[in-house]
């Protein structure tokens, strides 16, 4: 069980060691004293279990593939950005652009996420126990954002096909984002996401669903003639 203390080794040492493991390697890794350092555990490509004790800086767990990463602290900008698979869980808050462009995997934020959570989301699932800031899911293309708290201004602005579920208040919806019917199929999906995140104290019927009205340029069939 490798244990790295960032008070004694460099960030490069830790990330290199994580990148050198066999793609099928398993095992529990712990990293202590991150002290807000950037790009920690970015680019991992193996089904490792990684626990980070403390708060991290920018782009932690970016591009993650297969690994299960837990942060016992808060995270800076771009947590799990462009994640491909696996899971990332932060016990505290996440700063801006958490889960940006993430293609797959599960991101759980136990505290609040600030602005632009899930910006340009491409297929991952994001569950936020607290609130999300403004412009969350901006131009999100696929995947799901579940917010147990409130959402800030311009939620889902210029949305494509991602689904957004919010339990609390939405300060305002962005361009082309509308409230949509919560179908039985949606409720089942939402329940499966809550289950995946280990949340058992709320029900799908407490949420409202938001999605794209499909009225912007790219949704107009007439514009196909431009090509």
């Amino acid at each position: 069980m490798p244990n790295f203390d960032l008070d004694n080794v460099t960030l490069r040492d830790v990330n290199s060691a994580l990148h050198e493991v066999d793609m099928k390697a398993t095992g529990d890794w712990t990293i202590s004293n991150p002290r807000g350092t950037h790009a920690l555990a970015a680019g991992v490509d193996a089904p490792l279990k990684i626990t980070i004790d403390g708060s991290v800086g920018y782009y932690c767990a970016g591009m993650n593939k297969h690994a299960e990463i837990t942060i016992n602290g808060s995270a800076g900008v771009g947590l799990a950005e462009n994640m491909m698979s696996g899971s990332v869980r932060v016990k505290g808050d996440a700063s801006q652009s958490a889960g940006a462009t993430a293609h797959g995997g599960l991101l759980v934020i136990e505290g609040n996420a600030s602005a632009r959570c899930g910006i340009s989301l491409k297929g991952a699932n994001i569950i936020v126990k607290g609130n999300v800031g403004h412009m969350s899911c901006f131009m999100a293309q696929a995947g799901n954002l579940v917010v147990l708290g409130d959402a800030g201004d311009a939620l889902g602005d210029s949305l494509y096909e991602a689904k957004i579920f919010v339990r609390g208040k939405v300060k305002s919806l962005g361009a082309d984002c509308i409230e949509k019917e919560m179908t039985l199929e949606n409720a089942k999906l939402l329940q499966s996401l809550l289950d995946a995140a280990g949340i058992d104290d709320c029900k799908p019927e407490e949420f409202r669903r938001y999605g794209s009205a499909r009225q912007l340029y790219n949704f107009k069939i007439d514009n196909v003639l431009a090509y």
């Binding site: 708060s55 800076g76 801006q96 602005a115 800031g133 403004h134």
Partner: protein
């Protein structure tokens, strides 16, 4: 880029540690701003006295200025050379003597700051060098703000380094860039504010000073910047007895805050706060966009 930091001691017993803690905050932000660095610290003050920080911009050095002033202005109570700056303390009633002397005999000397409690030091170069040269780690203070600059809107000079001060005991550091600073500067100049540079952040400082001169509190003055300033900004503003924080409505520039029973701290990144005592159990949060935060001491 640019890095900004602020530290406000709620617990007086921590004031002797201010310099060491604050110097590390500033140095940690070097990567965000390697062009210049500066800091304003709020230290002991006497209501009957004024502290000025002076900088010779040409001619003789700072030690010559020190000798010159001490021999020609007998009312000077203390003059301390700090790197390229000279800290002078004198009775408020004799302030005119000093200004008069500088105007007539040493017009090349820039008055970096003035105030009852504030001392401001800034220079071109890396934060670690600037901190060491000015002796920041040894400074006891109640609060302070600091900045590491990556220049965008004006030249890499000492004048263009932050913090900017536009009134006694008031200063501002800024991460971002303003787009309507020229218009605003003209408006403020018509209303009696003076500016030393073409820098956008100095305009923000001048705007807040102008508002506070109109008897607004720091919180109100910061609220008004949301109406009148256009651009990207995270501001940290220092006054004689407090400091305030404000981010633009889209939160373009990063900010993290931490609070314990002992202090309130601000950093562009969490890294700048990671060494503070009790940070593991501190309340740590990201200030919301367009929301004014400020802390003031009840007894300065």
């Amino acid at each position: 880029m640019c890095g900004i930091v602020g530290l406000f001691m709620k617990d007086h017993s921590l004031e002797p540690d201010f310099g060491v803690l604050f110097a590390e905050m500033l140095e940690t932000m070097t990567e965000r701003g390697p062009d210049s660095a500066g800091f304003a610290v709020y230290r002991d003050g006497n209501p009957d006295e004024v502290k000025l920080v002076l900088r010779p911009t040409s001619g003789g050095g700072v030690s010559e200025l020190c000798e010159d002033l001490e021999s020609n202005i007998p009312s000077i109570a203390e003059a301390v050379t700090r790197h390229t700056h000279l800290l002078v303390r004198l009775p408020r009633k004799n302030l005119f003597d000093l200004h008069n002397y500088l105007a007539n005999h040493a017009p090349e000397v820039e008055v970096i700051s003035s105030g009852e409690r504030m001392e401001l030091y800034k220079e071109v170069g890396l934060a670690a060098d600037i901190s060491r040269e000015f002796g920041l780690p040894r400074m006891t203070a109640t609060h302070g703000v600091g900045h590491t600059r990556m220049a965008t809107e004006s030249a890499v000079t000492t004048e263009g380094a932050h913090p900017f001060t536009t009134a006694p005991d008031q200063c501002l550091v800024h991460n971002g860039s303003l787009s309507n600073h020229n218009n605003l500067r003209r408006m403020l100049m018509k209303n009696g504010q003076t500016f030393r540079t073409r820098n956008d952040s100095e305009v923000a400082a001048g705007y807040i000073s102008w508002r506070m001169k109109g008897n607004e509190g720091l919180g109100q003055a910061l609220e008004h910047t949301l109406d009148d300033l256009d651009g990207f900004f995270t501001f940290v503003v220092g006054t004689a007895n407090g400091f305030g924080v404000l981010r633009d409505p889209i939160a373009c520039k990063p900010a993290v805050m931490a609070q314990t029973d002992q202090y309130v701290a601000f950093g562009s990144e969490y890294r700048a706060l990671a060494h503070l005592p009790g940070i593991g159990n501190a309340e740590v949060w990201e200030p919301e966009p367009a929301k004014v935060y400020f802390w003031e001491r009840q007894h300065a």
